[in-house]
């Protein structure tokens, strides 16, 4: 199946930041993996935030990793050659503190064997500059998308933040700027206080909330985005079972990404893939693309 210019091997992908650079999670049956998105990368290496970086919450978790990563040079040298030999596509999640920096990163990844596409992160809540602040302004989001689009021939997906009044406005803005697909949604900003220390549990004070706690919100926002644009929407947010994934497909998504569930069950992606296949065969759909979408247009 081709989604947003990328040939996916199936409808279930690994979400950015939950699958490293694809060299971990040895327990997963990778034949069931539709594709993966790398951990978010910047031009330069970043150490990330001090611990504590994660805390569990009811039906979810907060994380503030701070986009720890080796920088684009190391990614191209150490990981892309491995990806070039893999049978599923790898998108690189790209980040920057300015539209120019996103564009520069896109140019550095253009034509690199093993990189199937880019996912622009205009929605990370855990960096002091950039990230989410591009994603909640339609003009800034479009400017970043254009800056990337101009510097690469690779398919460009844009990962949107839920921290907006109307996701349809942002979705249309980045579609107009040349995005090939949307990933909906990134984490929601949250906080947790330690009553022993009377301070935030996370050293970054706030973190991104993920897991089943955000699923109904993610489902609604992915649906709203899908109603607003013609490019495909890839749903992500708290998916832990095939039923969850099927809800996103019916709500208008072409594919889904699985994140936090992989932390809990390294085989979650394979399990979800199998459940979708079983649903399709019971209902006589030749593939997940044949599942009828509930997508009323305004």
């Amino acid at each position: 199946m081709i989604v947003g210019g990328i040939e996916l091997r199936g409808p279930v992908m690994a979400a950015s930041g939950t699958f490293g650079y694809g060299t971990e999670v040895p327990l997963l049956d990778r034949r069931k993996l539709g594709g993966m998105v790398s951990k978010g990368i910047f031009l330069r290496p970043r150490p990330g935030t001090p611990p504590a970086r994660i805390v569990e919450t009811p039906a979810g978790m907060l994380n503030a990793i701070g986009l720890q990563g080796p920088g684009v040079e190391s990614l191209v040298r150490d990981y892309a050659p491995l990806w070039a030999g893999w049978e599923f596509p790898v998108l690189v999640n790209v980040n920057g503190e300015s539209a120019e920096e996103y564009g520069e990163l896109a140019a550095r990844l253009d034509g690199v064997a093993g990189v199937a596409g880019l996912e622009i992160n205009v929605s990370c809540p855990n960096v002091d500059a950039g990230g989410m602040y591009f994603g909640n302004d339609p003009r800034a989001a479009a400017a970043v998308t254009e800056a990337v689009r101009r510097r690469t021939r690779l398919p460009v997906w844009v990962k949107l933040t839920p921290a907006v009044t109307d996701i349809g406005v942002i979705a249309r803005a980045v579609e107009g700027a040349g995005a090939d697909a949307l990933t909906c949604i990134n984490t929601l900003v949250g906080m947790s206080i330690d009553l022993h220390t009377l301070k935030p549990r996370l050293s970054f004070r706030t973190g991104g909330l993920s897991g089943p706690a955000i699923r109904p919100i993610a489902l609604h926002l992915a649906h709203q985005a899908a109603r607003a644009v013609k490019i495909p929407v890839v749903g992500v947010g708290g998916i832990a079972s095939a039923q969850d994934a099927l809800e996103f497909l019916v709500a208008g998504c072409r594919a889904v990404q699985v994140g936090t569930a992989t932390f809990v069950d390294p085989q979650a992606i394979a399990r979800i893939h199998d459940g979708i296949t079983e649903f399709c065969s019971k209902r006589d759909y030749a593939s997940a693309d044949e599942i009828p979408r509930y997508l009323p247009r305004d």
Binding site: G17, T18, F19, G20, E24, V25, P26, L27, K39, P47, G48, T49, P50, P51, A52, R53, I54, V55, E56, T57, P58, A59, G60, M61, N63, I65, Q68, S192, D194, L195, H196, T197, R201, G211, P212, T260, T262, F263, V264, D265, P266
Partner: protein, 243 residues
Amino acid sequence: MTGVREVARETFVISLAAPPVAASVRPGQFVMLGLNPGPLLRRPFSVYRAEGDLIEVILKPVGSGTRLLLASGAVSCVGPLGHGFSLDPAGGPVALVSGGLGVAAMPLAARAARSLGLRVAWVHGARTADELCAEWEGEEVVWATDDGSRGFHGTAVGAVPSVSMQVLACGPNRMLAAVADRWPEAQVALETYMGCGTGVCLGCAVPLARGGYDRACSEGPVYRAADVLWERLPTHLHYEASA
């Protein structure tokens, strides 16, 4: 789960049938245990012993998760994970220094040391005599209690005999920082928050003396004591208020 025994006040050893883990686990490695229904995230546990098809872990029912774990018949287990202790066959006698639940990492280390013909001094501390883990293994045992109710009055670190030994330690991070002061070359098994245990979430960051962070679940949980930037490592973990 096949058995439970109390080894100190409110401290239990549970046995689990986990043949692949039992067959391959090395000293200092851990497993991630999960419950469904239960808290979302798995919890890391050092493997206390491994025999035949069984592994044992040690826990205090402090949070809702560990209480549920103790009461449940079946748990889901991922492991063994992480890099454990490495013993130098020519490094002389071994001191296994543990505080509280840190004792969890020690029986496998004792067995490995003795199988290399190394003499083992087992040094274990707790707040009070009834909180000391009663089980030990080695040629010599030294007890320590914060209140002086049994053995050395003070911490396990203070109770270690002053002779040259390979020091392996596990316990609260504050205790391990004291280990680092006294024996920079000691091997310490750290406790951190963990999301996945498999290297992908980057939640278990350990601040390093040379700068940056790495992952307790993958590069650790055992570190050379001098390599850790102790003042940046959280000293107290609170799982109990969550989920």
